[in-house]
């Protein structure tokens, strides 16, 4: 690479700064709001004139927030686990085995990936009420698994095709059944892909909003984003800006740390299906 001129450095530097600022300012704004006192909320300056942590102590003591947070984590973890296990099995079959119906499987998951959630919300609301699943953890876990599966099957089959499959043959020659070859040899090699898929599915569950507000009605199963949207102030006129933004920061910070920590995997996972597809 030839030496870069000062002009080039300034040009790229400006572009970099601009992009980073555009990405960060809206986030910093939410953080800033969460530290504002109730009176300072009506002061439109970007930074708080007086800092307070009372918004945080408020929500962290309130079951209206803690309970949905637990729901979010529990539902997200369980749905992710089930989706990754089921998707790994299917993706292995798609990547490795010859069987009729493979294109149907891919077609079906493609359809589901494109599905508007609202089209499911109406019938699922009614079905879950009848089955007693409405406003329960399984009532959200099951649809999340189903919507996470197509994503999982794509990402994992892209990963699985990269695995050195000679090892599997070797295991078979040594007398392993196809099932043993899967569990003992391939699954450990496939672990990185599975971690990536788990991250993407978990992010989806954490972010999901439409089904979360449709299929729940109380703190029993309502997830954090859904609960936040229905926070009310002390009176009908007080918009709970501080409370909402503090809750927003609490549910955002862990996910940002998580995303930054696993950034390579996320980028690999998001792009694996797109380029090869």
């Amino acid at each position: 690479m030839a030496a870069t001129t000062a002009r080039q450095r300034v040009g790229w530097g400006t572009a970099n700064t601009f992009a980073v600022l555009l990405a960060l300012i809206p986030v910093l704004w939410i953080v800033s709001l969460s530290f504002k006192t109730p009176t300072a909320i009506t002061d439109p300056s970007f930074l708080p004139s007086q800092w307070t942590t009372s918004n945080y102590s408020g929500i962290l003591k309130s079951s209206e927030f803690i309970r949905p947070l637990i729901n979010s984590i529990g539902i997200g973890v369980i749905a992710t686990f089930i989706a990754v296990v089921l998707a790994s099995m299917a993706a292995y079959a798609v990547a490795r085995l010859r069987f009729p119906g493979k294109s149907v499987l891919i077609g079906v998951s493609l359809l589901i990936a494109m599905f508007p959630a609202i089209a499911l919300a109406t019938p699922l609301f009614n079905i879950e009420r009848i089955l007693g699943l409405f406003d329960t953890w399984p009532g959200l876990i099951i649809p999340y698994v189903a919507t996470g599966l197509p994503l999982g099957i794509y990402t994992l089959s892209a990963f699985f095709r990269e695995i050195p499959w000679e090892l599997e043959k070797a295991a078979k020659v040594d007398g392993a059944t196809p099932f043993q070859a899967f569990v003992r040899v391939i699954a450990p090699l496939a672990a990185p892909g599975m971690v990536t898929t788990a991250i993407l599915v978990f992010l989806f569950c954490w972010n999901e909003f439409l089904l979360a507000i449709t299929l729940t009605s109380t703190l029993r199963a309502r997830t954090a984003p859904a609960a936040m949207a229905f926070f009310t102030g002390n009176s009908a006129f007080a918009v709970p800006t501080g409370t909402i933004t503090a809750a927003a920061v609490v549910i955002t910070i862990p996910i940002i740390i998580f995303v930054l920590f696993f950034q390579r995997r996320i980028v690999a996972g998001l792009t694996s299906g797109a380029v090869k597809g």
């Binding site: 790229w12 970099n16 508007p116 919300a121």
Partner: protein, 314 residues
């Protein structure tokens, strides 16, 4: 079973025309059984949560079915559909949805391409830029939406203060513009990541050769990069178009559909939870599904977008 159809199970209908003539060896049969066995749980869950409810929604869409008045339930044929299709609310919501989809996807494509080039080519700080771009992607949509809402609320928001304490969220067109900008902020990084993956497919030598031959940066972009990236671009567009069409979260927080800013998903949700009219709601759901199917068909047939994952079939 020499030339007969392979056994068809409920979950695994066999694709027509892919019958194998010679009798299967023991190994091939075991492989086939294992294939079905491994796919069955995933298929069962997906079918239970989507195909069955959709079937149920189709059934409901032909019924008068109001939760609060069960004694009135009866078959009404296409009554619900004609009610929806003759409603100005539906058409307005459809237009709003199409405007949001077209504008946000078009802007995202341009910005996403610029961002992808920046992330791919910038000569320093590449890691920082790539890392920062994951923040809008990772943030929960409604959290970001709250941020935008407060930013544009008079006497609370810095953006509103910047524009003389205006209240743009109470005006239809301005509110839609804000909804679109919230959508763009959140998803441009995703678009950029997909496009960056496409950029990595463009051979560096080819660009250098073109440069030596005197092609300008503009020519190299349009004549070399874009054609080579076409599959990645189309897949990114397909994903984002379908995703933008089902926009809900941003609208729910930013305006809650006030001042004629409802999208079709928002309208459908309101219909479900204010009227509890499942017949009308289901008809609307089916119409939204049909729209999505039309968009997907246009992309796959019209532009020759490879359906994501289609290469897995071989």
């Amino acid at each position: 079973m020499t030339t007969t159809t392979p056994p068809v199970t409920a979950q695994e209908p066999v694709a027509a025309g892919r019958r194998r003539k010679p009798p299967l060896s023991e190994g091939a049969r075991a492989e086939r059984r294992l294939g079905w066995l491994l796919c069955a749980p995933a298929v069962i869950v997906m079918v239970a949560v989507t195909a069955y409810p959709i079937g149920y929604a189709i059934y409901l869409s032909f019924q008068r079915y109001i939760l609060s008045a069960p004694q009135l339930n009866k078959f009404v044929g296409f009554g619900n559909y004609s009610a929806v299709l003759s409603s100005p609310f539906w058409w307005h919501a459809l237009i709003v949805t199409i405007v949001i989809t077209v504008v946000s996807v078009a802007v995202e494509l341009v910005l996403g391409m610029l961002l992808a080039l920046l992330m791919y080519r910038t000569i320093f700080g590449r890691g920082t830029v790539r890392t920062t771009m994951l923040i809008p992607y990772g943030i929960v949509t409604i959290v970001a939406a709250f941020g935008w809402q407060y930013a544009w609320t008079p006497s609370t928001g810095y953006l509103s203060a910047l524009f003389h304490n205006s209240a743009p969220l109470t005006n239809t067109n301005e509110a839609i513009a804000i909804i679109i900008s919230a959508e763009i902020w959140k998803t441009t990084p995703f678009m950029a990541l997909l496009l960056m993956a496409g950029l990595s497919l463009v051979p560096e030598d080819l660009l250098k050769a073109a440069k030596v031959d005197g092609a300008s940066a503009w020519q190299r972009f349009w004549r070399i990069m874009v054609p080579l990236m076409k599959p990645a671009i189309l897949v990114a567009l397909l994903f984002r178009t379908l995703d933008a069409f089902r926009i809900f979260d941003n609208i729910f927080i930013l305006t809650n559909g006030a001042n004629n800013t409802s999208s079709v998903s928002m309208l459908n949700y309101d219909n479900l939870f204010t009227g509890f009219n499942f017949g009308i709601g289901s008809a609307m759901s089916i119409l939204i599904l049909i729209c999505v199917a039309i968009i997907a068909t246009i992309f796959i047939r019209g532009f020759g977008t490879a359906a994501p994952g289609s290469s897995l079939q071989q």
